[in-house]
Symmetry: C2
Subunit: 381 residues, 2 copies
C-alpha cells in the first residue's frame, strides 16, 4: 500500500471559539435555523416514523424531488421535472454515477485547470483519462479544449463561480461549450455550486437551462447550501438517463436516508429554504465586503483580490516571488486555512494564488484572520 | 443505453395494513423503539447541533466507532479496535471501498454461488472478474474454489447465515478458507449479516475473530439490524488498510451524516442496542417457528423448508418440476414476495428453491401469507 498524505482534519464545529478561516466550501452554519430544523425533524419522526424506517427508493423521495424542482426552476431558471432529479449524497456521488453510466475506462473527460481535485478524483477512480482545459477570465477556454481534446466524451465545469479561480463563465463560452457537446456527441456535467448566491442584478443562466440537446447533467450539493453534515445533493439528468443512473445508485450505494429527505422537503415547501438562501445572500455579500476591504487594507501589495459576483469564496493572486503552497502551509500553522491554487493545476505554471472561503466565517473574525495572514506574507516576501 | 429491468418497488412502510411478506433482509421495523430514537435524536440536536452541522470525518465518528467496537467484541467475539472501524452507508459501499483499494480491474474474486447479487454488482462495477464457488451444506466449497480459481485475490463470503441458502459455514471450512488466503496472499471479505441472531447455544466464530494473518475485512449493515432507512454500516479492516480505505471514502462518497452516527452511538452506549438485539432474537425465533410450522403444514409436499440457526430468512427447496422464478412471479401477483434461488446462481442448474425473509413480517400475517403461497404451488405443480 503506497504512502498517502494525511487525511484532512475535521472542521471544528461552529460553537468553537474561532470559526475556521478561510475553510473552502463551508456555508454559514452559524446562521442555520437549527431549532426550526429540529422541530421539522421531530414532527416528521412522530407522524411518519413508520414509512421513514423502510428502505428509501426513488418513489419515496418524490416529495423532495418535487419541492426541489419547483425551487430550482424558480430560483435558478432551470427547466426540469421532479422525474429528472436523483437525490444523492453529494456532488461527488453524482459524478460517480454519471461516470459509471456514460463513460468507459480510458474515455477522455475535460476538467477545468485549475479545478476541483475532489471531482477529478472521482473521474480518476472511474478510470477516466483527464484532459486539462485552461480557465481564463471568461471561464473555460472552450476553443483550446476543442483544439487539444476535441474527442472527449464529457466536460465537467463549474460555470457560475469557478473553483478555485472565482471566474464566472461568459454566455458566449457557455454556448460554445454546448455547441461542442452537440457536435461531438459529448456530455456536459455542470456543477452549479455557488450559483445560488448571485450579487449582481444579471445572474448568469445555467447550462441546464440553455441546453437544447439533452446533453447537460447538473450536479448540486445541498450540504454546501445548508450544512455539511446533511450529506444530500442532487443530480438532474436528461429523461433517458434517469433509469440507468438510478440502477447504478441502487446497485452501489442506495439513496440517502429517507428521514433527512422528508425533513428537507418540508423545509423547502414551508418556504424556509428560499428564505434562508435570501438571508445567506445578504450575509455572504456582507462577509465578502468585509473580507475584500480587509485584504485591500492589510495585504494590498502582496495579494490582489478581486470581488466575486457569486459563490462564497474570493480568489487572490500573489505578487511575484511568493509561493502559494509555502504561504498556505505557514498560515495553517497559525490556524488560518487558505487554499493554494497551484495544487489545483494539472499543468504546472501560471500565476500563484490563494482561495479564501468566507461563507462560514463570522464577520468579526475576518479582520483578525487577515491580519494574521499579513504577518505570513510580510515574512515570506 | 441498454434496456434495463424495472427498478424494485419501494418497500411499503410498516404502518400499512399488511407487512410485506416475505421481503428479504427487512428487519422487524415494527419492533423498533421509534419514540426512544426520536428522544435521543432531539437531545443530540439540542445539545450538539453546532458540531453536528460540520462535515463528518473519521475523527467525528470516534464515539460511534468506540461504542461499536465494544458491542461487536462483546456480542460477536470480534477482536477489533475503534481505529479499525470505518463507518459506511452499508455493506455495498464497504465492498466498493475494499475493491477500490485492494483490487485492480481484471483481478479475480471468489463469490458464493448462489450468492448475493447486490455484492456481485459492486464487484462487476469495479471491473473485477467473478469466480463462482459453489455452496454446499457445509458452506463455501473451499477446495473447489482452490482447484478452479486458486489465483484469486479476494473471497467474499457470508459464513454466519449464507444468502440465499441459509447454510452456516462449518469451522473446518472457515479455517480452510483462511489457510488459502494466507497461502495465496488473498483477502477475505466477511459479510456478517445474520450473525447477530444465533438460535443455538454454540454460536459460530466469525472469520474476523479467527484470523491470525490480518487478511480478513468484515462488513456489516446496521440498517439491516435496526431499520433500513438508517443507511449506516461498518467496515472492519486490518490496521494497515484503514488509511487508504478512508482516503477512497473521502475522495468518492464521504462519511455518512454525523447526526445519525451520534444518535446511534448514544443508542449503543445507553444499552438500547444490545437490548434491542436480544428482543429481536426472541422475536425472530418466534417468527421462524411460526413460518416453519406454517410451511410444513401448508406446503409440505412442494417446499422442503429446514430450520435456520441464525439470521432472519428461511430457505425452502422446491419439489422437482416446480420452477422457482415462475412461482415467485405468480406469488408477487398475489402480493407475496419470495426470492427465487435460480437468479442468484452464476452457474445455472442445481436445485430450485425460495428464500423467505421473515424479519419484518408480523406473526399473525405469516399463516395467511403461506396459505396464499400454497395456492400458487398447488396451481403450478
Amino acid at each position: 500500500v503506497a504512502a498517502l498524505p494525511p487525511l484532512p482534519e475535521p472542521t471544528p464545529g461552529i460553537d468553537t471559539a474561532i470559526s475556521p478561516a478561510f475553510q473552502p466550501h463551508l456555508p454559514a452554519v452559524d446562521a442555520f435555523p437549527t431549532q426550526l430544523w429540529g422541530r421539522l425533524w421531530g414532527r416528521r419522526w412522530r407522524t411518519s416514523a413508520g414509512p421513514l424506517l423502510a428502505p428509501s427508493a426513488q418513489a419515496a423521495s418524490a416529495p423532495l424531488r418535487t419541492a426541489l424542482a419547483d425551487q430550482l426552476n424558480a430560483g435558478r431558471g432551470l427547466r426540469c421535472t421532479a422525474e429528472q432529479i436523483i437525490i444523492v449524497t453529494g456532488g461527488q456521488q453524482a459524478l460517480e454515477l454519471v461516470a459509471h453510466v456514460l463513460l468507459d475506462p480510458g474515455d477522455k473527460a475535460w476538467v477545468e485547470d485549475p479545478g476541483s481535485s475532489g471531482l477529478r478524483a472521482v473521474l480518476i477512480s472511474a478510470g477516466v483519462h483527464l484532459c486539462p482545459v485552461p480557465v481564463d477570465g471568461d471561464g473555460l477556454a472552450v476553443a483550446a479544449g476543442i483544439a487539444r481534446h476535441g474527442d472527449a466524451r464529457l466536460a465537467v465545469v463549474r460555470p457560475a463561480h469557478q473553483w478555485p479561480t472565482g471566474v464566472t463563465m461568459t454566455l458566449p463560452r457557455r454556448l460554445a461549450l454546448l455547441e461542442w457537446a452537440y457536435q461531438a456527441g459529448a456530455w456536459v456535467v455542470e456543477d452549479d455550486s455557488g450559483g445560488a448566491f448571485a450579487y449582481t442584478t444579471h445572474a448568469t443562466t445555467p447550462l441546464q437551462a440553455l441546453d437544447q440537446g439533452a446533453r447537460v447533467l447538473q450536479i448540486g450539493s445541498l450540504s454546501q447550501l445548508l450544512f455539511p453534515a446533511l450529506r444530500l445533493g442532487y443530480l438532474i439528468a436528461p429523461p433517458d438517463l434517469v433509469e440507468p443512473l438510478l440502477w447504478v445508485q441502487h446497485l452501489t450505494s442506495r439513496p440517502p436516508p429517507a428521514v433527512d429527505q422528508a425533513v428537507l422537503a418540508d423545509f423547502i415547501t414551508g418556504g424556509h429554504f428560499a428564505q434562508h438562501l435570501r438571508r445567506l445572500t445578504d450575509l455572504y455579500q456582507e462577509r465578502q465586503s468585509t473580507l475584500l476591504a480587509a485584504c485591500q487594507r492589510e495585504l494590498g501589495e502582496w495579494l490582489n483580490v478581486q470581488p466575486a459576483t457569486a459563490g462564497f469564496h474570493l480568489t487572490g493572486w500573489l505578487a511575484p516571488g511568493l509561493d502559494d503552497r509555502a504561504v498556505a502551509a505557514q498560515a495553517a500553522a497559525l490556524g488560518i486555512t487558505v487554499t493554494p491554487i497551484s495544487p489545483q493545476r494539472l499543468i504546472p505554471g501560471g500565476p500563484q494564488g490563494l482561495a479564501l472561503g468566507y461563507g462560514g466565517v463570522r464577520p468579526e473574525l475576518i479582520g483578525p484572520a487577515v491580519q494574521r495572514l499579513a504577518t505570513v506574507l510580510e515574512e515570506r516576501r
